[in-house]
Amino acid sequence: MLANKLAKANLPDLTITVVDQNDDHHYQPGYLFIPFGTYRPEQVVRSRAAQLSKQVTFLRQTIERVDPDGRQVHLAGESALAYDWLVIASGAAPRPDQTPGLMDERVWRRSAFDFYTLDGAEALHAALANFEGGRLLVHISEMPIKCPVAPLEFAFLADDYFRGRRMRHKVDITYVTPLDGAFTKPVASARLGNLLEEKSIRLASDFAVAGVDPQASTLESYDGRHLPFDLLVTVPVNMGAQFVIDSGLGDDLGFVPVDKHTLQSVAHERIFAIGDATNVPTSKAGAVAHFEVDHLVRNLTAAMAGQPLPSSYDGHANCFVEAGRGKALLLDFNYDTEPLTGLFPAPVVGPMKLLGSFAHQPPRQAGLREDLLERAAAGEAAAGAERDVDVRQGAGHSQEVRSHAHQHY
């Protein structure tokens, strides 16, 4: 996105090279829907190179480290690239190795899964399909994580999924969080605080995870709580790229410390960062990168011309939340403003209610939802009266709400 915008800006004497270790661009918000069979893996992967402007050189290489003093990027093998300006956009990745016991072969990808990787989401799809009931834990290890509401969405969708399979009564769902609740901001907890209760999802809060006991199949906390599980869906600690850590450019989690407004590295004036790779105190989400990119184009352009950095990112983020049963929520906030209630004037799809649920069109090729829609259309009672109504609302709005709620970031 940044490379294309810079290319379009036609700056004199500028050559742009994008280095990535593979050519697979993953639409990561889509991972959430793979375990439930709503998306198939091939629907969320496309070529990186194909997205780039012809003026941008794409280099498929692994980065080993950055030498900020020599202004070089060292690649796997002996080669290196010199740079005048470097933008780090290497994101954040789940690190299951950071939770003791989680990767033990007795549990990992047998009864303990992540869904923030494509193979994890695929493996979980199979595990859910074979799940016959028991204790399901939906767990966040520590903040910050990418797409911070996705675990909550997962819990809502799991509730939906098991209802659809008419086995919800056999599944005990607990949402486990290191924070003091599922909804931590006052306006959200006031508006949405009873959602978990409505869906019969238990809450284990202030859970500082110490590890997994693979023998006992329990999740352990530092204050001595042991939560038994038959299926653990965990969001491991998120960290920045290994080359950032190895180059000494990251904080304790490998995120690049930058000025939160200009996105310039606090340590090296020729390095900037964007998206999940930075340490800016807002959500790690695609929307953030979108809102950051224009500021970064202006600041890079000014830096190249030796001028002061003119553009100030304000922490703007927004997020569609899949609330289950065909409903969605929209959150919009920045560094200084809490999520607001009211209407969001979205183009094309029309105003959307902020922090109130609105019906949305079910995702295309939604196996489960399509079944329900068909049954609802045929007048057949779905699992419950409420679902029936919700599904019809979703169908009724499908002309108007053309955007999909799964395009949340």
């Binding site: 520590e142 903040m143 509401v149 949405l192 500082a208 530092y222 939160k260 959500s283």
Partner: protein, 105 residues
């Protein structure tokens, strides 16, 4: 936003009682607030993580997580649970005059 006055300290708080401006926090005030959440005496063992939290958040702009208290501050998480029973992350932030750790909702 409500304004509280205790023992000559005046400070603005949010609905949950957390200070809205870190500048309002002080060690005197922390000692008073500790009493309100059932921590009778703030010992040197309490002060060390509280001071780290304030210094650290001054540079990062966010309240450090328990993991960061351990990896960067060198504090033992189990010990923090003993010092600030039940909810150490929240209690530490409350006493340090910082926002509690939050998600985006």
């Amino acid at each position: 936003m409500p304004i509280n006055t205790i023992d000559g300290h005046t400070f603005t708080v949010n609905d949950e009682g957390f200070l809205t401006d870190r500048a309002g926090g002080s060690e005197d005030l922390a000692a008073i607030l500790a009493d309100l959440i059932g921590i009778d005496d703030l010992t040197e063992q309490h002060w060390a993580p509280l001071r780290f939290m304030r210094t650290d958040s001054a540079t990062t702009g966010v309240t450090p997580t328990l993991r960061r208290m351990q990896t960067v501050g060198g504090f033992d998480i189990k010990e923090l649970f003993l010092l600030f029973p039940g909810k150490p992350a929240k209690k530490l932030a409350y006493l340090a005059g910082l926002p509690k750790p939050v998600g985006c909702v």
